[in-house]
């Protein structure tokens, strides 16, 4: 499996990378960790004439927090997310999710930016970012713009990212200390994409949910932010009847494909089960 021919570019700044994208339009693709794009190129399902390797841009690495926002630069790898003390302390759901992505070799190279920008509904980070109400910084010839993760995904592999733009950072509001969190993923084997997966973040006070957000992976053409499910749970004590209503609301927005991971009806039900398990675990972890 040999990819088609291309011209290789290795810019050392974002501005230089954007300039290359501008001059080649649709014929150029940015390369981050490469673990989605290179397999596509080997299958000749992608054949960019110009490959713009972002690996030489020092600016695109790093995790920082400032004024209640955690910023993760796009080329930060899943391995680096797992190793980050800042994330382990303030946003542990990122580590939990990262550990469920692919395998160690792939996590050394796979990046957060590539994972969220690619628009593959099988990727885990997009739903997580919707759950966290993250926003993506898109850098183009006219500077930066920010798009909410909840508004970014249009269809499988179609996103708000323009061909001459690069997703350069992900900004996540720091959740309150004591929040509960869980990412539950059903997969056929280690390293697989999700049959269905759910991310849950919540805060509780005196046994009552004071905020809750839910998002689902790989049960539609795009990641799904389950706004109604979160609204139903908010203010509840997570009693059985309310959880059942919220799960039904989440299942109602799914539209999975029937494929090797199971028939559509099964995957919808599994999305509900993953959400229920994630809720239970998040509630356990939350400070009451």
């Amino acid at each position: 499996m040999i990819p088609g021919e291309f011209t290789y570019h290795r810019p050392s700044s974002v501005a230089e990378a954007v300039a290359i994208l501008v001059s080649h339009g649709d014929e150029a693709r940015p390369l981050s960790g490469g673990h989605s794009l290179i397999p596509m190129m080997k299958l000749r399902m992608a054949a960019p004439e110009h490959l713009v390797d972002l690996g030489g841009i020092a600016d695109l690495k790093g995790i920082s927090e400032d004024g209640g926002t955690i910023t993760i630069r796009a080329m930060t790898t899943q391995h680096e997310l797992i190793e980050s003390d800042l994330l382990s302390e303030k946003l542990p759901i990122v580590r939990e999710t990262s550990l469920l992505i692919a395998d160690p070799q792939i996590r050394y190279l796979g990046t957060l930016g590539g994972n969220v920008a690619n628009g593959d509904p099988g990727n885990d980070m997009p739903a997580l970012m919707q759950c966290l109400n993250a926003s993506y910084v898109l850098t183009g010839p006219d500077g930066n713009r920010e798009v909410a993760a909840r508004d970014f995904y249009e269809a499988a592999y179609f996103t708000a990212l323009a061909p001459e733009e690069i997703l350069t950072a992900v900004k996540i509001p720091t959740p309150p200390a004591g929040h509960g969190w869980a990412y539950e993923k059903l997969k056929r084997k280690v390293g697989d994409y999700a049959t269905a997966a759910a991310a849950v973040m919540l805060s509780m006070s005196g046994g009552t949910v004071t905020s809750c957000s839910v998002a689902l992976t790989n049960v539609a053409d795009t990641p799904l932010y389950a706004a109604d499910a979160g609204d139903i749970l908010n203010g509840s004590t997570l009693d059985e009847a309310t959880v059942a209503r919220a799960v039904a609301a989440a299942e109602a927005i799914t539209d999975p494909a029937s494929d090797g991971r199971g028939p559509a009806e099964y995957r919808t039900k599994m999305a509900g089960i993953m959400m229920q398990r994630a809720l239970a675990r998040a509630a356990e972890r939350a400070s009451a």
Binding site: I2, E5, T7, G34, Y108
Partner: protein, 169 residues
């Protein structure tokens, strides 16, 4: 003939600096095997699932079928060819695979040992679960993994004895 310019790729492989001019689309596994004649890393699935092509690049385990040689430019690489001790004796991991019957057909072994090498550098004393999760990106279709896990445990034990620690590095 292609009108696309060949590009220089310089690597340090198993301590030796090498340079070749290659097409940009050359994958690292092809660069190692065909340009450098380093055939320890195997081409298994070619789809980044099986891990037979695993090499160490700048301290990371990577699947060399899913990295362009150009991306690795300037990197320090270690392959199975660089695993033995400097005096030619088997490393603790190699010895572990031998003692514990960590291989049958041997196809996955270069990737397994190279991956385990990086795993033990990062986590010198892994639990059984950490070993299993640590080699989750390497498929073996013969052994059922039991003896591979034992081989890595054997190596970890050897490396944790103070007198052998130096030889392992």
């Amino acid at each position: 003939m292609s009108d696309i310019e060949q590009i220089p790729v310089t690597l340090t492989v198993n301590g030796k600096k090498v340079q070749r001019f290659v097409e940009p689309r050359t994958l690292l596994i092809h660069f190692l095997r065909e340009e450098l004649n380093i055939t320890g890393p195997h081409i298994g699935c070619e789809t980044s699932h099986c891990g037979a092509c695993t090499v160490e690049m700048n301290g990371m385990s990577v699947k060399s079928c899913t990295v362009f040689a150009a991306q690795a430019n300037g990197a320090e690489m270690t392959t199975i060819e660089g695993m033995a001790n400097p005096d030619g004796t088997l490393s603790a991991l190699q010895e572990g695979f031998r003692q514990m019957h960590g291989l049958q057909c041997g196809f996955c072994t270069p990737g397994m040992i190279t991956r385990a090498h990086t795993l033990l550098k990062e986590n010198p004393n892994p639990s059984e679960e950490e070993i299993r999760m640590g080699i989750a990106g390497n498929l073996c279709r013969c052994t059922g993994y039991q003896n591979i896990v034992k081989a890595i445990q054997y190596a970890a034990e050897q490396l944790n004895q103070p007198e052998t620690q130096e030889a392992a590095e």
